[in-house]
Amino acid sequence: MSGRLLYRFASPAAFYPLAGALAPWFFGLAALLCLGGLYIGFALAPTDYQQGEAYRIIYLHVPAAWMSMFIYVLMAGYGVLFLSLNARLSAMMMAALAPTGAMFTFVALWSGALWGRPTWGAYWVWDARLTSELILLFLYLGFMALQAAIEDRRRADRAGALLAIVGVVNVPIIYFSVQWWNTLHQGASVSLSASPKMAQIMLSGMLVMALAAWMYAIGASLLRVRAIILEREADSDWIRNYLAEERK
């Protein structure tokens, strides 16, 4: 049953209206969660005894950094789906996720620089965590440039999928960099195996913001995949009918 449902919505014609109907809900949830997360982070959570107020960048920095990695893994997953099943929609989802992933990577780097300055005394250092995150930004930008540079759609999608899959090796490097190398960046504040190294209220603010970031990323990529479907399937009958229907 659910397999059949998935199959049905794997066609761009069926997914286009579904994505359009869902996107506003995700944006609405993102806005609510963001307000809630900021309220917890700025009004309820106390000042950090070591870092003072500067630590409040955490509510932006950590969710953005998590999203930058999640989105790349998702892209690689869609890349595998595209190469193995040759599903058009997978290639479109891959392309729809990249700009949002690049945006979150940029925000993670930027907020990290502005957090590093007051706490480490430097905006930037070439340590393993920062450098591998910068490489992630180049992977996103490289993916987009590669897709834009190849005229033939199928070739562009194949090349993009390969880059996404090969590049995914960078994600565990980012994640484990703080354990594998001696870095200036602190270790993980939250992990599945140990209790969180931060106060409960700070942790909940961060997790609510992370949920907000997820909802935003889903909303933005749904809107983008709609534009991509329009761009790529403009000459198909269903789009013609759809536009004609709209004009009535």
């Binding site: 500067a54 945006m103 809107l223 983008r224 709609r226 534009a227 991509i228 329009l230």
Partner: protein, 51 residues
């Protein structure tokens, strides 16, 4: 209020982070809107060519 905005002397760092994030999101949503508008215009053009 002014005290709160000063963020204990870290205001530039804190608001500089959040401000640029808001800007980045605004840029993403604006480019998305233009992309959709262009794609729709292009699709309408192709649809009218075909008839």
């Amino acid at each position: 209020m002014i005290d709160w905005l000063a963020m204990g002397g870290y205001g530039g760092y804190v608001w500089g982070s959040y401000g640029v994030a808001v800007l980045a999101i605004a840029i993403e949503l604006t480019t998305l809107r233009y992309r959709r508008r262009n794609a729709l215009a292009q699709a309408r053009l192709e649809a009218s060519d075909g008839t």
